[in-house]
């Protein structure tokens, strides 16, 4: 636990440094408008990252989220083209998200396949379904009120997606850190065997998390559609890299059992500020992705090196 507290302190320092550098580069940086804009540009990713935090703490991974976002967006566009009113299409797409999550959960908990394989297959599969629905078309012309949901502030300066983020953060904070279910998520992440022998319904917890992950991804896909008011087959392509980076940089262990939502919130802020800072410094999107990739590796490598260095200073205390 002490290591985690230190990790979050380190994140806080990094965040402070990026903010100071960014605001030195541009006086516009610290305005409320820019900060909201900063969130708004990647809001869908960070919403999915919150749910991914629980999945990874549980010792699993969901690589299919970005494809589910794309599928949700394309399904919405397809339904809309068929003449289904947007108000009806929205709940249908959300149900599709639940269904997709349940589909993943089936192979993982009932058949007993590793989530890495299942969600890798569905990374291809969901994207494939999205392509079947819209082929190579682009779909636009959604109703005004729908686009406004993605672009206009609805509460003070806050747009809908930011409110969804805030509400989801609070809900998951309570679920993960204050509820019995949250304890089960950690116990399973530490050791699924121990959890099983302690009477925890491991498959049920896992299934619930994957269903929730599919649902949140489809919601994020809808929010994305509303924000850019257009749909194409490659919506959200490759977002899983950013999403997983945010979670792991937040101190969540890829092996499960460790990490907090607060850490992930800090790392989200760091990633957003870094990207914004790089954009201010005229660094292109591609180089930004490379930097995020480097960050992902370092976020695991550095703690590993620190730990092994610490161990080698205490000979005999631990062989591994």
């Amino acid at each position: 636990m002490r290591r985690l507290v230190r990790w979050e302190l380190l994140l806080l320092v990094i965040l402070a440094v990026t903010i100071v550098i960014n605001s030195a580069m541009s006086p516009m940086f610290l305005t409320i408008g820019n900060q909201i804009n900063l969130f708004q540009l990647s809001i869908e990713k960070i919403i999915v990252a919150l749910m991914m935090t629980l999945v990874i703490i549980n010792g699993e991974i969901d690589l299919s989220v970005a494809s589910m976002m794309g599928l949700a967006a394309c399904a919405f566009g397809w339904l809309f083209q068929l003449g289904v009113p947007a108000g009806v299409a929205i709940p249908m797409v959300l149900a599709l998200g639940l269904l997709g999550g349940a589909f993943n959960a089936f192979w993982i908990t009932v058949i007993g396949m590793p989530s890495l394989v299942v969600t890798l297959a569905m990374l291809i599969g969901f994207r494939g379904m999205a392509r079947i629905l819209v082929e190579d078309r682009g779909i636009t012309g959604f109703p005004e009120w729908f686009n406004a949901l993605g672009q206009q502030p609805i509460l003070g300066p806050l747009p809908l997606a930011l409110l969804v983020f805030a509400v989801l953060f609070v809900i998951l904070l309570v679920v993960l850190h204050r509820s019995g279910f949250g304890r089960k998520v950690y116990v399973i992440g530490n050791s699924a065997e121990v959890a099983r022998y302690s009477g925890v319904a491991v498959p049920r917890v896992k299934a619930l998390l994957f269903i929730a992950s599919g649902f949140v991804a489809s919601l994020a896909g809808l929010l994305y559609t509303a924000r850019v008011s257009a749909v194409r087959g490659d919506v959200a392509l490759g977002f899983e890299l950013d999403i997983i980076t945010m979670v792991l940089l937040g101190g969540v262990s890829i092996f499960g059992g460790k990490g907090t939502l607060w850490g992930v919130l800090l790392s989200i802020l760091i990633v957003l500020n870094l990207r914004n800072g790089m954009a201010l410094a005229n660094i292109t999107g591609h180089l930004q992705t490379g930097v995020i990739g480097l960050l992902l590796i370092l976020s695991v490598l550095v703690p590993n090196l620190v730990q092994s260095a610490r161990l080698s200073f205490r000979p005999g205390s631990a062989a591994r």
């Binding site: 590793p114 394989v117 890798l120 890829i254 490379g290 990739g293 695991v300």
Partner: protein, 350 residues
């Protein structure tokens, strides 16, 4: 009644089932598509298998050690572009030097992965997800929005994909296809005959036991990533020869295709088991489906990815269920032999 199932090695069962599925798929498409059994179709599939097979064999070596290499697509693109650039600048280089350069470049990129995974103790999925983005970024930065075109490449490179080694009837065995099959044969022999190569399986099936048995697990994993990089580099060269026009998106998505080929080919994603024959069949199956769907009138080509995803799921699920079933049979037999006093204590496997 089910005794014969236990006498057959699971890998043999897997390969037989796969060969059967492949035959059925080919028969099915043959009945659906006019002029399916032609030399042209064979050439198309064999030249595209040549590239994926090289990558998939490297991927299999990594997966057998209980790791994964998601950066291979970026390595293919990176080497294809850089070697192309090298050839444009120095068109008189000897072909062997060019191939060696491609493999060296791939090896170097694989070494970065291997160092981080084996010695940095960062999980392979994180490292290679990171280098997937990093290598691609380096390529985009290096290329500066230029692309390699066929017109600037030496003649022998452009003509290589059409070069035929020998023909069986009217089926041409292309040089690139022969190279891939040759690599497959060498790796197959190594994995089944060489003590050093058996260490890949030892590390993958139980790293702790391998370490106790005196195997340097770090070095084995590092070597697997080196080989995966080298083969991806070689594939990058073949890719360059086949397409000639190389942009920064070259090789995009190959990591998923290679993982698909490997798991469909029966390599256990948790490491420790897998055969080259399986990988060859898996690669061919994935590629036959891929190439046939584009010509199937009933279903649009947009179905490819959705079907590929389902294929992976079904292949791995069948494997999981079969292993569980065989395990239960084996344990039951042990129990009955135990009560007869003829067997050692049963042990849970898998």
């Amino acid at each position: 009644m089910t005794g014969w199932l236990q006498s057959v090695h699971p890998q043999t069962l897997r390969v037989t089932a796969l060969a059967l599925v492949l035959a059925l798929v080919i028969l099915f498409f043959g009945s659906q598509i006019d002029n399916y059994y032609t030399a042209r179709m064979f050439n198309r599939i064999s030249t595209s298998v040549a590239i994926i097979l090289l990558i998939a064999i490297g991927q299999a070596l990594v997966v057998i050690t209980r790791n994964i290499d998601l950066s291979v697509g970026s390595i293919v693109g990176f080497t294809a572009y850089l070697v192309g650039d090298l050839l444009v600048a120095q068109p008189d280089l000897h072909p062997l030097v060019v191939v060696a350069a491609a493999m060296a470049l791939g090896t170097a990129l694989g070494a970065v992965n291997g160092l981080l995974v084996a010695y940095g103790r960062v999980p392979a999925i994180i490292v290679t997800l990171g280098t997937l983005a990093l290598y691609r970024t380096l390529l985009v930065e290096y290329s500066d929005a230029r692309s390699i075109t066929t017109a600037n490449l030496p003649k022998w490179v452009v003509e290589l994909p059409q070069a035929t080694l020998f023909s069986i009837g009217n089926l041409d065995i292309r040089v690139t296809f022969a190279i891939a099959l040759g690599v497959a044969l060498v790796v197959h022999l190594a994995l089944t005959r060489l003590r050093a190569a058996r260490r890949l399986y030892a590390v993958g099936s139980n790293p702790d036991a391998a370490a106790i048995a005196g195997i340097n697990a770090e070095r084995v994993v590092f070597t697997a990533f080196l080989l995966s990089g080298a083969l991806a580099g070689l594939a990058g060269f073949v890719f360059l020869a086949r397409f000639g026009n190389i942009t920064v998106v070259a090789g995009l998505g190959f990591e998923l295709k290679s993982v698909a080929a490997v798991v469909v080919g029966g390599v256990n994603i948790f490491g420790g088991s897998g055969t080259v024959i399986g990988v060859v069949l898996g690669t061919t199956l994935v590629d036959v489906i891929d190439n046939s769907l584009t010509r199937w009138a009933l279903v649009s080509e947009f179905w490819r990815d959705a079907l590929l995803g389902m294929l992976i799921l079904i292949a791995v699920a069948a494997d999981t269920l079969m292993n569980r079933y065989l395990d239960r049979l084996r344990r039951r037999r042990h129990m009955s032999e135990l009560s007869a006093g003829t067997a050692p204590l049963p042990r849970e496997t898998g």
